[in-house]
């Protein structure tokens, strides 16, 4: 496929054809993970900088594994003790990192827009691994890929995003990706955790979880950041769990065979019933392995298109 992007900042920049191409490639890359020797020499000599300025375990490890399976070298910046903590601004950090001549920088940052900012500063590829409340494109791609493998076709399918929409980069990216692919998206959560102008989004909003689950094909539970209660948006976590915690009885209203997803990490017993997270309908662990395949695909596309560009 033709890959013309320098950076991956949000799902907005991708066409539905490109997303499907990524899924097709990812199916091949996923196969590598099932081999006894999980490594190919595809990206030998390439270097990828993992710049995670916000705590992250799974996304960072996922990129690290993806790069290593393709034989790229990875370097990561520790969050604590980094110059960032010493007050260095993002521009200087970015220029310093670029001077180390990586082929791509993967960035996770708490400020919305930080990936865009870095991409404008730097010549190398910037892959957004989550910026503030704005976007998390690789998460949306892996969510899509997990369901693509089951569904093949997105038209006629309905996804429910459950929980804190207002503060979720996952929700924003998922909504864009799934609507681009032709699926319908529903949202459910307390009004205090929904954006005010949500009626202008291409989604249907529910305040009652049972109604929201009726006839859906998949439910993505979003992680409830526990500080939302402290900042006055919720009376209590118990009330949240009572009203919006996903339970078996909700999934019984969904379409037969409906799947349960969660980008992790889970607050068991709050946004999702613990048994449900471990049930056969749960795709949560598949999301993790799909994430590696998606990130291998993206690293491959970015790092090989660079060499083609420079030839």
């Amino acid at each position: 496929m033709e890959w013309t992007h320098k950076d991956l900042l949000s799902v907005t920049q991708l066409t539905s054809a490109e997303i499907l191409d990524i899924f097709h490639l990812a199916e091949n890359f996923e196969e590598i993970g099932t081999r006894p020797v999980k490594k190919t020499p595809t990206l030998r000599g390439k270097s990828v900088l993992l710049f995670f300025a916000e705590p992250s375990t799974r996304t960072k490890t996922s990129f690290d594994i993806a790069a290593k399976r393709l034989s790229a070298d990875t370097f990561s910046l520790a969050t604590s003790g980094s110059s960032l903590e010493k007050g260095e601004d993002l521009r200087d950090t970015g220029l310093t990192l670029q001077a180390m001549q990586p082929d791509a920088i993967v960035i996770r940052h708490s400020q919305s827009g930080s990936a865009d900012f870095l991409a404008q500063q730097l010549q190398c590829s910037v892959i957004n691994a989550g910026d503030g409340w704005h976007a998390h494109p690789t998460q949306a791609l892996l969510d899509g890929f997990s369901l693509y493998k089951l569904w093949g076709e997105f038209r006629g399918r309905t996804l429910l995003l459950l929980g804190d929409i207002a503060h979720s980069r996952v929700a924003r990216s998922d909504i864009e990706l799934f609507t681009k692919l032709g699926a319908s998206v529903r949202l459910c959560g307390p009004r205090t955790l929904l954006p005010r102008y949500i009626r202008d989004w291409p989604v249907t909003v529910y305040s009652d979880l049972e109604e929201a689950c009726r006839g859906v094909d998949a439910v993505q539970c979003l992680r409830l950041q526990l500080e939302r209660q402290r900042s006055g948006l919720l009376p209590s976590l118990r009330e949240y769990a009572t009203r919006f915690g996903l339970r078996k009885r909700h999934m019984e209203l969904a379409r037969p065979g409906a799947r349960i997803m969660h980008p992790g990490p889970l607050n068991r017993g709050i946004e999702i019933d613990s048994d449900l997270a471990d049930s056969p309908e749960s795709l949560i662990l598949d999301q993790v392995s799909s994430g590696i395949a998606i990130r291998m695909t993206l690293l491959y596309l970015f790092l090989t298109s660079i060499s083609r560009r420079s030839e």
Partner: protein, 423 residues
């Protein structure tokens, strides 16, 4: 089959009717031919609804308790009342709500029905949302921080959003506490003459404006408690014309009395918001007639006698209102300030609509909640005649027009007696 009972020759909106009750429901309201009223007949009214009272239980039973408060409501003509959350402990969790409802069911199984209002914020502290869903599940019909104004507009926003999902109204006590510190009377000529700290009218109206703007921006409803000032009325009028989902209440005392009442430093006239000017009274009377203010409430705030028998500035705010509300409002009917239809709208129809309660429209199948009222009689509220434990009203020992002969809820007499049936 449910027992059938005929209440003969009562006047419903100027027409002599027989009211036929079957069990706990209205079977029929049957006009009696072309008979002229003789002037002797009793007036038929639907059971009144008071969505703003303080019953003081748990915690301050020396002022009132649920039993005495409901007894006062029964004798005052009410079939449904709400009680605010500023009890001790605060009604900010399901345990307190459940206790209130259980006490009401034990002490007054036939009613008046009690509908608790849950706290809007935990402990009424204005910092965190109360457990509103849990309160709704336990039986609260609205949320309010009444008594303790919500100065944090962010919290007010979240409370309005959260309760909109629960489809229950938020009632705001409109007062900017930074504008009314230590205030005990309307800020005006009277406060200056008496040397008392005044509360400016803007303390209410600024908060009214804020709530209207919140409701307009968020497109969720808000109900404004005990409105007492002209500017507030004008803001509500403006908001309603714009289609903002706002509703409002005022109390009989704001339609009847002015700051002049306070001239003798009478603590029985001390109330929050304080009594306003004659101009405020004019504006409020027009507002209730025109529906700019939707409903009447008592803001029944009983206090023990010893608590009010202290110097004005130190006395607690509040007027005991359940016993006297109907007679006070009847005096406005006699003065042609209000019509009987207005009374029914302000005390029955509109509160039922705003708070999701069932009122009696005298249609077949409606709850048999009604009053027989004798406009030719009168009574005098005294410590002995008032059922409320709180005797704190400016009209204590003054003769009031009209008298309730029967308060019937779901076909059973809560107060008074059924008239003799004719065969």
């Amino acid at each position: 089959m449910a027992s059938r009972r005929t209440i003969p020759r009562v006047v419903w909106q100027g027409q002599v009717c027989d009211c036929i009750v079957e069990g706990d429901k209205i079977a029929e309201l049957r006009p009696v031919g072309d008979t002229e009223t003789s002037g002797e007949e009793l007036v038929l009214l639907p059971g009144l609804i008071d969505c703003h009272t303080h019953l003081r239980e748990p915690g301050q039973e020396h002022k009132e308790d649920i039993n005495s408060g409901l007894a006062a409501a029964a004798s005052g003509g009410f079939s449904n009342i709400s009680c605010m959350a500023n009890t001790v402990p605060v009604n900010d969790n399901a345990a307190v709500t459940t206790m209130m409802l259980q006490t009401a069911a034990e002490k007054k199984p036939e009613g008046p029905a009690l509908h608790p209002v849950g706290a809007l914020s935990r402990g009424l502290a204005g910092k965190e949302l109360a457990f509103m869903y849990e309160l709704a599940q336990a039986g609260c019909i609205a949320f309010s921080n009444d008594g303790v104004p919500v100065s944090d507009s962010g919290l007010m926003r979240r409370a309005m959003e959260y309760s909109a999902d629960l489809q229950l109204p938020v009632i705001d006590h409109c007062e900017d506490p930074d504008l009314s510190p230590g205030g005990v009377i309307n800020e005006g000529l009277m406060s200056e003459r008496l040397g008392l700290q005044g509360v400016p009218s803007i303390s209410e109206s600024i908060q009214v404006a804020r709530d209207i703007l919140l409701a307009s921006y968020l497109e969720v409803p808000v109900h404004l408690a005990h409105i007492s000032r002209r500017e507030s009325v004008e803001l509500i009028h403006w908001a309603k014309n714009k289609g903002v989902p706002v509703s409002a209440e005022t109390c009989p005392h704001y339609l009847l009395w002015t700051e002049e009442e306070v001239a003798g430093y009478d603590p029985l006239c001390k109330v929050n918001p304080p009594l306003g000017t004659a101009d405020d009274v004019t504006a409020l009377r027009q507002a209730v007639r025109e529906g700019v203010i939707d409903i009447l409430v008592t803001d029944h705030a009983p206090h023990a006698q010893f608590e009010k028998e202290i110097p004005f500035s130190r006395a607690p705010n509040g007027i005991s209102g359940l016993d006297t509300a109907l007679s006070l409002c009847w005096s406005l009917v006699e003065e042609d300030v209000l019509t009987q239809k207005d009374l029914i709208r302000l005390w029955c129809r509109s509160p039922a609509r705003i708070f999701g309660l069932r009122d009696n429209g005298f249609h077949p199948g409606d709850p048999a909640d009604f009053l027989l009222f004798d406009p030719g009689d009168s009574w005098t509220p005294t410590p002995e005649t008032m059922r409320s434990r709180g005797k704190n009203t400016p009209c204590l020992n003054q003769e009031l027009p009209g008298r309730i002969r029967l308060n019937c809820r779901k076909g059973k007499a809560l107060y008074g007696r059924f008239p003799q049936e004719t065969a």
